[in-house]
């Protein structure tokens, strides 16, 4: 079965000032799959995922080379509007970052800023998104409560609901469970499995068990380079590169 690719990264390099963080990355991300990116800290995995929705723009002195094709166009093309890109490519961060507003207002933030005014429409979106993020049953009676009254795991699922509310095509997750307890982590991992039916998911994780449990494809980054990219099973069973093997067997990292 031929895969549809949603991202095509071609010889992509990135510098912070004079320090090179990504070197000649070539990587294709398939639609409706979970692509995991693993590697030791400082390997560029976070930088790479933040490039996919151009959040790296927020960091001054970033310079890029090469291209990342999304929907037929280079995302660094001058005519691309970054707001539109980020609407279609949502992001969940390492630390849950809900707004200090009510649960409801958090979920409808995206639809609101994109012009949805109708109250009942917003309520529909909120319910649909919270259900999709497996949070609805826990919060349906307290939608007006402040988001910070939720537990860390619930906050993170709220952040996922907030992303889903704008109906993106891709959901980027930057170590979404690193601040969570094992139970909440499990819930999010289950959720990721459900979400890939509708969305393409790219997840950065420093937890190799997590990568092997939930992803279809795994990319191993080291010192800004893509060392190996293959089926998750292949990567964890018979890695082609010695360095990948060393990393997943815990010899460094």
């Amino acid at each position: 079965m031929a895969k549809t690719y949603i991202y095509d990264t071609k010889k992509f390099s990135l510098w912070y000032g004079s320090k090179q963080a990504l070197k000649d990355i070539d990587l294709k991300i398939a639609a409706n799959e979970v692509t995991a990116i693993i590697g030791p800290s400082g390997c560029g995995k976070s930088t790479y995922i933040k490039t996919l929705n151009r959040m790296v723009d927020l960091i001054p002195s970033v310079r890029t080379e090469g291209e990342i094709i999304y929907d037929g166009r280079d995302i660094f093309d001058k005519t691309i509007r970054v707001e539109e890109l980020r609407t279609r490519v949502g992001m969940v961060f390492q630390k849950p970052n809900p707004f200090p507003k009510s649960i409801f207002e958090n979920v409808v933030y995206g639809p609101r800023i994109h012009g949805v005014r109708n109250r009942s429409e917003l309520e529909d979106i909120a319910e649909r998104s919270l259900r999709a993020a497996a949070l609805w049953d826990e919060v349906k009676d307290r939608l007006k409560d402040n988001a910070y009254s939720l537990s860390g795991g619930q906050q993170q699922r709220l952040c996922i609901a907030r992303v889903l509310a704008v109906e993106p095509e891709v959901v980027l997750m930057d170590e979404p469970t690193s601040a969570l307890d094992p139970l909440s982590t499990l819930k999010i991992e289950d959720l990721v499995q459900e979400l890939k039916e509708k969305y393409t998911i790219v997840i950065v994780t420093h937890n190799m068990q997590q990568a092997s449990r939930i992803s279809d494809m795994t990319a191993f980054f080291l010192l800004g380079e893509l060392i190996e990219f293959d089926n998750t099973e292949k990567i964890f069973r018979q890695p082609a590169d010695k360095r990948t093997e060393d990393y997943i067997t815990g010899r460094f990292g």
Binding site: G90, M91, Y148, C159, V166
Partner: protein, 292 residues
């Protein structure tokens, strides 16, 4: 075995030092509080019998028995009505620009240092600036508008710096969350940054306002007349404000002794206003404690 007393000379010395330090510190507090008490009680005693309804609702008069500060309070309040929005809008806009739009670099540092310096400039200087620009150049004379704009210049640095601090205190992850949803910069500022920074901005602005209520020098420099006997009708009218009136009544108490009592009564009114403002700032701050 532990010695209950003596035996350990060094420890004895340290304990004595420990106790005397406490006495020295509490003594400092007593000096500050003592002076404040003396000041307040002498003012309140002087104002007794003078601060009454008649005093608050009558116009100024040469006759101390009939004089009241209705016009003076009106002058101060009208000045506030112009001052507050002008300063808030200019101050917050400046702070947003500096914190959210300007790249941190030499321009940012220079502007920042200058603003901090401005907040230490004596108020007389701001009075001269107001006299030159608003009173003379723009021909506003010594109107309420001229006074308010001059005061606005005076407290702008305070408001800008406190608004900057409040904006800076909004965690970056909230901005990131908003940008990652496809929000523009302005949407992010309007819906995320400002709501979170608002309590801090308001607290700083209220403190700035209370400074403006109490300032005398700039108003005297732009030429507020010594005695005005009629109520201000519009913002273009000449006026007098509470601190200015206190100043003139105190000066003239050499001529008419009762003026000292009038000044004292006016001080009580002014202090009450200041206290109200400062308490509301404290309430605001504690009510909107951050919770992320």
């Amino acid at each position: 075995m532990l010695n209950s007393r003596s035996g350990n000379k060094r420890l004895d010395r340290r304990i004595i030092l420990d106790r005397s330090i406490k006495i020295v510190f509490s003594f400092s507090v007593f000096i500050a509080l003592g002076i404040l008490t003396i000041l307040l009680s002498s003012i309140i005693i002087q104002s007794i019998g003078w601060l009454d309804w008649q005093f608050l609702t009558s116009n100024l008069s040469i006759n101390a028995q009939r004089a009241g500060i209705k016009g003076v309070i009106t002058g101060t309040l009208l000045m506030m009505v112009i001052l507050a929005p002008v300063t808030l809008i200019l101050g917050v806009a400046t702070a947003i620009f500096l914190e959210e739009y300007v790249r941190k670099g030499w321009f940012h540092s220079i502007v920042k240092i200058n603003i901090s310096n401005l907040s230490a400039v004596p108020s007389v200087i701001f009075g001269l600036l107001g006299l030159t620009i608003f009173s003379r150049l723009l021909g506003l004379g010594s109107s309420i508008l001229a006074g308010a704009l001059t005061m606005s210049l005076l407290i702008l640095p305070i408001v800008v710096v406190s608004a900057q601090e409040a904006i800076k205190a909004v965690p970056g992850f909230l901005r990131e969350a908003s940008y990652a949803m496809g929000a523009t910069k302005w949407t992010t500022i309007r819906k995320v940054v400002l709501p979170s920074a608002l309590p801090g901005i308001l607290t700083g602005s209220i403190l700035g306002l209370s400074r403006a209520i109490g300032e005398t020098a700039p108003l005297i420099v732009i030429g507020i007349p010594a005695l005005i006997l009629k109520m201000p009708q519009s913002i273009m009218d000449n006026f007098t404000a509470l601190p200015v009136q206190i100043y003139y009544w105190t000066l003239d108490s050499v001529l008419v002794r009762e003026y000292a009592n009038l000044a004292a009564a006016t001080i009580v009114v002014l202090l009450t206003m200041l206290l109200t403002l400062n308490v509301s700032a404290i309430i605001l701050r504690s009510k909107f404690q951050r919770r992320y």
